[in-house]
C-alpha cells in the first residue's frame, strides 16, 4: 500500500523535500509516528492533516494511493 505525503511551508524545510512516498502505513497516527522517527524536528511542529484534500481531526485509515497533506500555520503578511 502506497501513501503519498505532501509537506508545506516550514515542514518541507525540516524534511528537505515537499513530497514523500511511504509504503505499508495503515493510518494517519502511524504515518505521523514514522515521519517523526525519520525527522525528529517534526515532533515540535504544529500542522493539520488532510487526507485526500479533507482535513481530519482524529486518526484516519489510509487507503492505497491516497494523498496526505501536512499543512502548518503561516503568520506572515
Amino acid at each position: 500500500m502506497t501513501v503519498h505525503i505532501m509537506l508545506f511551508g516550514q515542514l518541507a524545510d525540516i524534511t528537505g523535500v515537499d513530497k514523500i512516498t511511504i509504503e505499508n502505513c495503515l493510518d494517519t497516527d502511524s504515518m505521523v509516528k514514522s515521519l517523526q522517527n525519520t525527522y525528529p524536528a517534526l515532533i515540535q511542529s504544529t500542522f493539520v492533516i488532510a487526507v485526500d484534500k479533507k482535513i481530519i481531526s482524529s486518526n484516519t485509515l489510509l487507503t492505497d494511493q491516497c494523498t496526505v497533506a501536512l499543512l502548518p500555520p503561516f503568520s506572515g503578511g
Binding site: 524536528a41 515540535q44 493539520v48
Partner: protein
C-alpha cells in the same frame, strides 16, 4: 457612496463581465470591507478593492512605514518612511478612487476596539502578520457573525481561505480554529522578518483575497468557502484543502463580548515557551565559562558569525542527530532572532530534561550585535 451619481465609466470594463453587470457594481458600492493590516497582503487587496468600487473601506494598522516594507508594500514610497501606514494608504486610495469612503484606524486591533470597529463592516480581510491578531480577528468575527477573507504567507508560499461564512444553503461554516485550534508554540513559526518573504508572493495572495472578497459580495463564481488554498510561487503548485467545522471549536472561543474583552491574545500566543530565555547581560557573563557549551542552531552560511565567544554549529535541521554527544552541564543555543533557538532549547530539554541547564539567547544574535555596538559608543 459619496456622490449622488457615481461615475460608472470607471467600472465599465467589469460591468461588461457576464454575471457581474450593473447589479454586481451596485453590490460592490453598497459593501463595507475592513482590511486589517496595511502590509504586504493589505496593500494590493486595498488597491484592487478601491479600484473595483467597494463603497466603504476601513484600514486598520498602527504601524509606520519602514524601508524594509517597500519591497512588498506597494502603496508606499520612500517619502512615506516614518509615516502612519493606515493614513498614507487612505490618501493614496482616495486619489485612485475619490468616489468611495475610506476610513483609517491608526491603531492596533485589540479586544477593546475590535468588536466596535468590525461591527460596522460586512466583511473582514485578515491581512495581519502575527498569530495573536489572527486569533483575535477570528474570535471577534465568530461573535459578530462576520465572514473573514484570510490570507497568510511564509517565504515562497501562501494560504487563502474564506472563513466563518454563513451561506444561505445552511452549511455550517468553519473558522480559523477549525483549521488551527490553538497557536503554535512561540518561535516555531517564523514571521516575515525572520524567515523572509518574496514580495510578489504577498501581491499574489493579497490580490487573491481581494478577488475572493469581490466574489462573495457580488455572488459570482465559486468562492473558497471552508477551503484553504495553498500556493507555492516556486513550483506554481496550487492545492485546495477542505476545512470541516467541528463542534468542539466553539468552546475555544470566548462565549460573549464580555469574555472576549478579557482575553489576552498576546499572552495566549507567546506564553507557552519562555522558560529557556536568557538575556544578553547574563549571556555575556557566562559565555566564556568552561562549563558552558554554546551552539549556533542557524543553518550553515548564515551571518554574522560572532568572534567574542567560542561556539559550535549544529543547524536546527540536523539537531536531533547531534545533541546526544554534548557533555557540558550548561547549554546555550542561539540563532538569528531567538525563535529557532527556542525550538532547539525544547529539543534539548526533551533529551536531557533537568539534568542540564538549557538557555536560549533572547533576541538572538541580531539583538546581541545591536547591544555590542551600543556598548562601544
Amino acid at each position: 457612496m459619496k456622490e449622488e451619481t457615481p461615475s460608472y465609466e470607471r467600472y465599465q470594463r467589469q460591468i461588461l463581465l457576464k454575471g457581474f453587470g450593473l447589479e454586481g457594481q451596485h453590490k460592490l458600492l453598497q459593501a463595507k470591507v475592513l482590511v486589517i493590516g496595511a502590509g504586504g497582503l493589505g496593500c494590493p487587496a486595498l488597491q484592487y478593492l478601491a479600484a473595483a468600487g467597494v463603497g466603504t473601506i476601513g484600514i486598520v494598522d498602527e504601524d509606520i512605514v519602514s524601508i524594509t516594507n517597500l519591497h512588498r508594500q506597494i502603496l508606499f514610497t520612500v517619502d512615506d518612511i516614518g509615516l502612519q501606514k493606515a493614513f498614507i494608504a487612505k490618501e493614496r486610495l482616495a486619489k485612485l478612487n475619490p468616489e468611495i469612503i475610506i476610513i483609517n484606524y491608526n491603531e492596533r486591533l485589540t479586544t477593546r476596539n475590535a468588536l466596535k470597529i468590525i461591527n460596522d463592516y460586512d466583511i473582514v480581510i485578515d491581512a495581519t502578520d502575527n498569530f495573536s491578531t489572527r486569533y483575535l480577528i477570528n474570535d471577534a468575527c465568530v461573535l459578530l457573525n462576520k465572514p473573514i477573507v484570510y490570507g497568510a504567507v511564509s517565504q515562497f508560499e501562501g494560504q487563502v481561505a474564506i472563513l466563518n461564512y454563513h451561506s444561505t444553503i445552511g452549511i455550517a461554516s468553519a473558522n480559523y480554529r477549525d483549521l488551527f485550534p490553538t497557536p503554535p508554540i512561540d518561535g516555531e513559526v517564523l514571521n516575515c522578518a525572520e524567515a523572509g518573504v518574496l514580495g510578489v508572493l504577498t501581491g499574489i495572495i493579497g490580490s487573491m483575497q481581494a478577488s475572493e472578497t469581490i466574489k462573495i459580495i457580488t455572488g459570482i463564481g465559486k468562492p473558497l468557502v471552508n477551503t484553504v488554498l495553498t500556493y507555492h510561487s516556486l513550483t506554481n503548485q496550487l492545492y485546495e484543502i477542505e476545512i470541516v467545522a467541528k463542534a468542539a471549536t466553539r468552546s475555544l472561543i470566548p462565549a460573549n463580548a464580555a469574555d472576549f474583552i478579557t482575553m489576552d491574545y498576546e499572552w495566549f500566543c507567546t506564553s507557552s515557551n519562555n522558560k529557556f530565555e536568557i538575556g544578553i547581560e547574563n549571556f555575556n557573563r557566562i559565555a566564556n565559562s568552561a562549563d558552558v557549551e554554546i551552539i549556533d542552531v542557524r543553518e550553515l552560511g548564515e551571518s554574522p558569525m560572532p568572534t567574542d565567544f567560542n561556539y559550535v554549529q549544529i543547524p536546527l535541521s540536523q539537531f536531533n542527530n547531534n545533541i546526544a554527544a554534548i557533555k557540558k552541564e550548561t547549554i546555550v543555543v542561539f540563532c538569528q532572532s531567538g525563535k529557532r533557538s527556542l525550538q532547539a532549547a525544547q529539543l534539548l530539554f526533551d533529551t536531557f530534561g533537568e539534568t542540564k541547564t538549557i538557555y536560549s539567547l533572547k533576541g538572538g544574535i541580531t539583538e546581541w550585535v545591536k547591544n555590542k555596538s551600543t556598548e562601544k559608543r
